[in-house]
Symmetry: C2
Subunit: 355 residues, 2 copies
C-alpha cells in the first residue's frame, strides 16, 4: 500500500491544517472535519481541502484534536471508516488506551499513533503552513497490534510532510517526551512563576540566561494542562527525579558541602552535551562571537552580509535585549575553529566585536 489518498484530517487547527496543506502540496485529495464550521470554512478557504461528506472513503485519517478529546476521536474514526488512523497528539499511551478499551468493535490494528515535533506559539488554521514540519523529527509510534502496512502509510505521511521519522513504542515515546519536553517546560514554568511578584528593580538585573530558561513558559496554559495530564504517570516519574536532585542540591548547599554541589553542576554539563547536535551528528565544539549592532532595520542585513563574506557558516544567533541603549548585542555561534577568523574578518569591516 502506498499513500494515494484521500486523506481525512479531523480537527483543522494549526497542526491539522498544516498536515492538510502538506498533503495538498503533494497532490493528494484532502477531506476536512471540524466541530467549528468557521475553522472548517477557513481551512477550506486556505486550500487545505474540502469538507468531508458521508460518502467519502478516506485511505488515511489524521486526528488532530486537543489531547482531552484525542482518544474518543481516534476511536470514532476507526469505527466510522475502514481507513488507517493516526493522530498527531503529544502523548501516545492515552489515546491507545482509549482505543483498546473500546473492545472488539474497534479494529485497533489500523491505528498507529504519531507525533510531529513542531508547533508555534500561534494556533488555529490561519497559523498553518505546509512547511511547518520541514526537517523536523516526527515520531511514528506503532503499538504491538499495529498492521505493518498501516505503519508504512503513516511513515509515508511524515515523509510527505517533509519530516524525519523516529520510531518509538508508545511507552518509550511518553517517557521520552516527559524528559525532553514536559520536564523542561514545567521547570521553566516554575522558575518563571517565581518572577511574577518580584520587585521591578530586582528584575532589572534579568539577563539572557533568564530569558532563555523561561521562554517556553509563555505558552498556552490550557493546552499544556491537557498535555501533562495526558502523560501524568511519566511526568510524575521525571518530576520525582527532579525533586530528588533538588533535595540533594539543597542539602549540599545548606551544609556547605562543595563536592556534592560540584557533582550536581557537572552532571548538568554532561546533560547539555548529550543533546544531539545539528543534523543529528556528533556535537562539534562551538564558539561565540559577539557583535554590537545598531538597533534599526538594515543593520542585521549588513552584519550577515559581512559574516557571509567571511565564508563562515552561522550555526546559531542570539540577540541580547539591551535594557538601556539603542544598540543590540548579537551573538553569532560558529564552529570554534572558525570563530577567530570570523572575528578578525568582521573587525576589518568596522564591526565592534568580542568573544
Amino acid at each position: 500500500m502506498s499513500l494515494t489518498g484521500p486523506v481525512e484530517v479531523v480537527g483543522v487547527g494549526l497542526l491539522g491544517t498544516s498536515v492538510a496543506l502538506a498533503c495538498r502540496r503533494a497532490g493528494l485529495e484532502v477531506l476536512l472535519t471540524d466541530v467549528s464550521p468557521e475553522h472548517l470554512r477557513t481551512a477550506s478557504g486556505l486550500g487545505a481541502g474540502r469538507p468531508r461528506v458521508d460518502a467519502d472513503l478516506p485511505q488515511l485519517v489524521v486526528v488532530a484534536v486537543p489531547p482531552d478529546h484525542l482518544g474518543a476521536a481516534v476511536t470514532e474514526a476507526l469505527i466510522r471508516t475502514d481507513a488507517v488512523v493516526t493522530d498527531v497528539g503529544s502523548v501516545k499511551q492515552a489515546p491507545l488506551r482509549a482505543v483498546l478499551s473500546a473492545g472488539e468493535a474497534v479494529d485497533a490494528a489500523r491505528y498507529v499513533g504519531s507525533h510531529p515535533m513542531a508547533g508555534s506559539e500561534r494556533s488555529g488554521p490561519l497559523a498553518a503552513s505546509a512547511a511547518l514540519f520541514d526537517g523536523r523529527p516526527w515520531a511514528v509510534v506503532p503499538h504491538e497490534g499495529s498492521r505493518p502496512d498501516a505503519i508504512a502509510l503513516v511513515d509515508e505521511l511524515a515523509a510527505v510532510c517533509g519530516a524525519a521519522t523516529v520510531r518509538l513504542s508508545p511507552a518509550d515515546h511518553d517517557r521520552a517526551v516527559a524528559r525532553t519536553s514536559h520536564l523542561p517546560h514545567l521547570a521553566a514554568v516554575l522558575v518563571a512563576g517565581r518572577l511574577a511578584d518580584a520587585p521591578a528593580d530586582h528584575l532589572a538585573l534579568s539577563g539572557q540566561g533568564l530569558r532563555d530558561v523561561t521562554r517556553v513558559a509563555g505558552s498556552d496554559p490550557g493546552l499544556w494542562e491537557q498535555i501533562v495530564s495526558a502523560n501524568d504517570r511519566a511526568v510524575l516519574g521525571v518530576l520525582g527525579e527532579l525533586r530528588e536532585q533538588l533535595d540533594t542540591l539543597i542539602a549540599a548547599l545548606d551544609s556547605g558541602e562543595r563536592p556534592g554541589l560540584h557533582d550536581v553542576l557537572t552532571r548538568g554539563v554532561a546533560g547539555t552535551r548529550a543533546i544531539p547536535g545539528k543534523h543529528g551528528g556528533p556535537v562539534r565544539p562551538m564558539g561565540a562571537v559577539f557583535v554590537a549592532v545598531p538597533d534599526h532595520p538594515g543593520e542585521l542585513a549588513r552584519l550577515f552580509a559581512d559574516a557571509g563574506a567571511s565564508d563562515v557558516n552561522i550555526e546559531d544567533v542570539h540577540i541580547d535585549h539591551d535594557p538601556a541603549r539603542p544598540v543590540g548585542l548579537v551573538e553569532l555561534v560558529v564552529e570554534e575553529a572558525r570563530a577567530e577568523h570570523l572575528l578578525t574578518s568582521l573587525e576589518s569591516r568596522g564591526w565592534v566585536t568580542h568573544r
Copy 2:
C-alpha cells in the same frame, strides 16, 4: 571627585581585563595586578595597562578575582591603598561581610560593591573586550557606610564601560540575582542532569524548547560552585520556594486536580511577562515568522537583506537545529503588527515561510 585615574585592576581574567580595556579606551591610566605572571603579561600585551609597582597611587581599585577570594582581595586593597575600592563579583553581601569583619583597621567607607551583568562562556584575558559591558545593566551596590563620593566614582566606572547603572542594597542585590540568575541556572542544571543517562532514541525528540531551557547549564561548574556558595542563604530561599511549588505541582498532577495544575501554568505565563522588555520599556506584543533557509554561508545574509528591504526591525532570531536535513528553520521575532507584512514580503522574494 571624578574619575581621572589611575585605575588599578586586581585579577586580569575576562572581566578584569575587559574593565581595564574600557578604561584605556577612555584614556585612563590602568595598573594591573594578578597572581599569574602569564595573565599579567597577556593583559599588558593586549594594551590593558601596565603591571602595578609599589609607588603607584591608584584613585580606584577594581577587584575582579573569583568569588572564593573576593573578600580577602577587597580587604587587602583597602588596607594597601587610600583608593576607592569596588569589585565586580556576582554576589555582594559576602565580600562586604569580609570587609566589615576586618574591624577598624579597614576603612570600609571607601568600599562600594558592584556587579556588571556581562560575561561569556570563555574566560581569561584573551577573551576580554572593551565592548563587553556596552549597554548591559551594571548594579552599583553601596553599603550603609559607603562614602557618597566613592559611590559616584563607581557610577562613573560603569559609565566609562558603557553600562547602565542599577542601584540596589547588598541584601536586595543578592536576593535579586538569586531569583533572576542563580535559580534559573540551577533549574537548567537539574533538567540537563536528567538527560545525561537518557537513551539516544529518546533524545532524538529534543526540540528547541529543551535547548533553550538547558543552554546555561553548560557553563563552568567550578565558577558556579563558588557563585552559589557565596550566595547560599538567598539561593536556599528561592530553592525552597521552587521545592514548595514543585510539591504543589506534583500533588495536583497526582490527584488529577486540573485547577491546581492550571494555576501553576498560569503563574508561569505571568512571570515571563514580568521580565523587562527590550530597552527596559514595556513588553510589546511580538510575533514570529518562520523561514526555511538552506544551511550554507550566504543564505542568512540573503534572508536578512530581504528582511531589511521589508523595513521591519528584527527583534530576535532563533535558528532551529535541524536533526535530519540541510535546511535550517530560522525564526524571526518582530512586532506582532509587522509580522504579516514581513511574511508577505519574504514570500514575494521566494522564501518559504510560515507563522
